[in-house]
Amino acid sequence: MFGGDEVIREFLVESHENLDQLDNAFVSLEEDSGARDRIAEIFRTIHTIKGTAGFLGFSSLERLTHKGESLLSALRDGSLDLTPAITSGLLKMVDEVRLLLRNIEETGKEGDANHDALIAELLALNTPGAPNKPPSPADDPSPPKSSPTAAASEVDGAPPTQSAPAPSAVAPESSAPAVAPAPAQPTSAPAPAPAQPASAPAATPVQEMIEPAPVAQKARQSSVAESYVRVDVQNLDRLMNLVGELVLARNQLNRLGSRFDAQAFQSTSQMLNLITSELQEGVMKTRMQPIGNVWDKLPRVVRDLAVTCGKQVRIQMVGRETEIDRAILEAIKDPLTHIVRNAIDHGLESADVRAAKGKPRTGILSLRAAHESGHITIEVSDDGGGINLDRVGKKAVERGLLTPDQLARISPRDLSMMIFAPAFSTAAQVTNVSGRGVGMDVVKTNIEKIGGAVDIVSQPGEGTTIRLKIPLTLAIVPALIVSTSNGQERFAIPQANLVELVRLKGEKAISGVEFIRERPVMRLRGNLLPLIYLDKVLQLQPSVVEPGSDPVLNVVVVQADKQTFGLVVDGILDTEEIVVKPLGKVFNDLTVFAGATIMGDGRVALIVDVAGLANHAQVLRPNRSDGTSDHDVITNEASNDDSAESLLLFELPGHSRMAVPLNLVDRLEEFEPDRIENVGKFRVIQYRNEILRLIELNEILGGVRPPADKPTNVIVYSTHGQTVGISVGKITDIVQGLVQGATPVTDSKFLKAAIVDGKITEILDIQTLVESRLQTMRGLAA
């Protein structure tokens, strides 16, 4: 059983606590026997223990509590009145339950104690006519708890083990057998034969000799029952908030401290610093729970699913003790279950298929969790067939998530990521498990919602690993503090969204920003990075560069939902641990901020919601890779709205509006006419220390030759290691558009007409064009 020990331990802790309450409940019941709700409360406790005991396979415990429960139920329904006899009987049962629990705690087993006498007594008590039959308790009712104690110690004489009170009273039983087995019973419990059950149960269990060292018993007892305190989660949350305040106050003090020089102050402040950090860590720990708490639910899910799918699956777990904030634990529960279900349904093959492939018939699903530099990584791997990329690709095109062109260029990893696209499912058949295409995208959204990330690695034939990167906590996050509007406004950008910082100085700060139509972009290692000016997008006072000063451009490159863009700010101030506070319902419609925080100087700063800001500013999505390779083009329209794609619009004299998919464009350049040279039959240009061949679109497609004295707009395109420039008339805009109804137009194999944003647009098939052109050139050169 997975986590069986854990379950039992929890059961023990909980039961011990409940039993302690029961004692009080019984006592107060005796004072006011009419208190129905008290009885109901006791009933519930016993019922819970019974249920859990039955579930965990502790049959004696179950049998005993069952009898007690019946009795309590009669009391609760009013068919029986509470008499001291009944109270005693029930208390005896409670003591017996304690004993059993202790045995379980120490040995993992219930022991072979015989409860027949007590059970018989409880039964007798439950017969309405005869509630007074089990008589003698009548004379030892008021301190019912003490009676077993007394009785027990009388019986056993002085077993060397114990002298402790109530709960331990029953403990001697286990040692009693060793001392004086059978005889003990008759002698001590003779007179009130069925009655003095106080001693009866104590004596009956005689047979067994489960006898762990008594000292150890006591130690263990306290370790489980007393070393845990149940705390209201709200208390923890409050504590967490207060610690948050303390962190802020400390930050303030630190800032203040930098102004003085007093040695004493410095060292005190440093001390405070340390203590605060430790306190913060400590309080965070109280909210931490092992991830195993969530994992424990999975084996069952896996088993049921494996049966449904007719597969054999074994589940492995590594790092189940990895601790994670409970709020986050709650948030990843469903996504995790989903991933596991998906792995079994789609990932693992059926036993026969596996056998045919020479793999063990039983598939292995492994879960791994580990702390990793302020994050938690959780991996769900299967050793199944891996993701069938062909099928994913076909499906993606079918669903309009990718164009065939994009499919041809997409990297395997990005293609794998397509399974997280909305409405995507590769299951050939919709099963009741999965295949309806909801799920994996929800997984991704939910993980990203809490600041996490999803990654996928798949080896054909060897399996798939889905990796989740999750922040440790939500309440306190590291953030970059930036300023804008001439330093008047400060904003916090969560570190989780941060990619890099770029600072351009002097001439570069001016020439580094280019405009495609009115949209500013920057080149970052060969890729076009859309820019957002924070002051503009937030409609703040624009930053003014003082005349004469050295121009500087600070760009914070951020990423959200796979959109990468540059945020232009005035200054980059600091990184700080900030406490995220909600903005309140007044600002419900405001999506550009994720919350607010209090800065070191006591002022409030807003936390930028990068995704919200991007949406607000409608950042272009140039669909470029993260700068690693020009060919490694990310095409995740998937995470965008269905089949919209970014198109570069340009004008060619004599043609209607023309467009190429932006993701096929490497770079955009503008060349002065005198830079274009003729080499042999070719027109070339010196470009980045290489010779760039130019293809003049108007020559191929026909049209008016652009005026020779104007600069030429050139699209730089790479294919198979060759880079060419395509001179187009004038680049006008980049739009996010839906390409509808692309149909070939008559005169050129390179053009298709489509409707983009309601206007007829000629879409240039740049791949075909360049390839055919390169062939021609080779022919010419030969």
């Binding site: 309140g584 007044v586 002022r603």
Partner: protein, 155 residues
């Protein structure tokens, strides 16, 4: 015509552009002097900003804007009347704080329909000796958009 009636209670009064307004003291958490505010870009124009109230971040509503009054002269710093509405704590930015008035025995009227931009926000009108006192409905004041954009407000 509007009927007069009375309602027991204490009213915390404040002034906006010379006019006396008030809120039921039961709603008022505290009154604090001017606090440094952080503007919230792109928020509704009646939001004055955010203040740090002993570690709690509280949104401040510019009451002059709310009532369609002229903008407060820059030299005059607003006071914060922090109230507990059903949307948590909110600060009302006002010109000045007045007295707390016991209105238990003073008859009030419902505002006439033509209170202009303050329509719907004023709950009761008291005729005091030398002035009118407009008692505002705190929850509506906080929740609804300013009167001039009432068409788009969500009830």
């Amino acid at each position: 015509m509007t009927a007069t009636s009375t309602e027991a209670g204490l009213i915390c009064t404040f002034y906006l552009d010379g006019q006396c307004y008030g809120v039921d003291v039961a709603h008022v958490q505290e009154v604090v002097r001017h606090q440094e505010m952080t503007a919230v870009p792109l928020a509704s124009p009646s939001v004055g900003g955010l203040i740090n109230l002993r570690g709690q971040i509280v949104a401040a509503i510019e009451m002059r804007h709310r009532f369609g009054l002229p903008v407060r002269p820059a030299a005059k710093l607003p006071m914060n009347v922090v109230i507990q509405s059903d949307l948590s704590a909110i600060s009302l930015l006002v010109d000045e704080i007045g007295d707390v008035i016991d209105v238990t025995n003073i008859p009030f009227e419902r505002p006439p329909d033509s209170t202009g931009s303050a329509k719907g926000l004023v709950e009761r009108v008291y005729k005091l000796d030398n002035q009118l006192l407009f008692v505002i409905d705190v929850n509506r004041t906080v929740r609804e958009e300013p009167a001039h954009s009432e068409g788009t407000s969500h009830a």
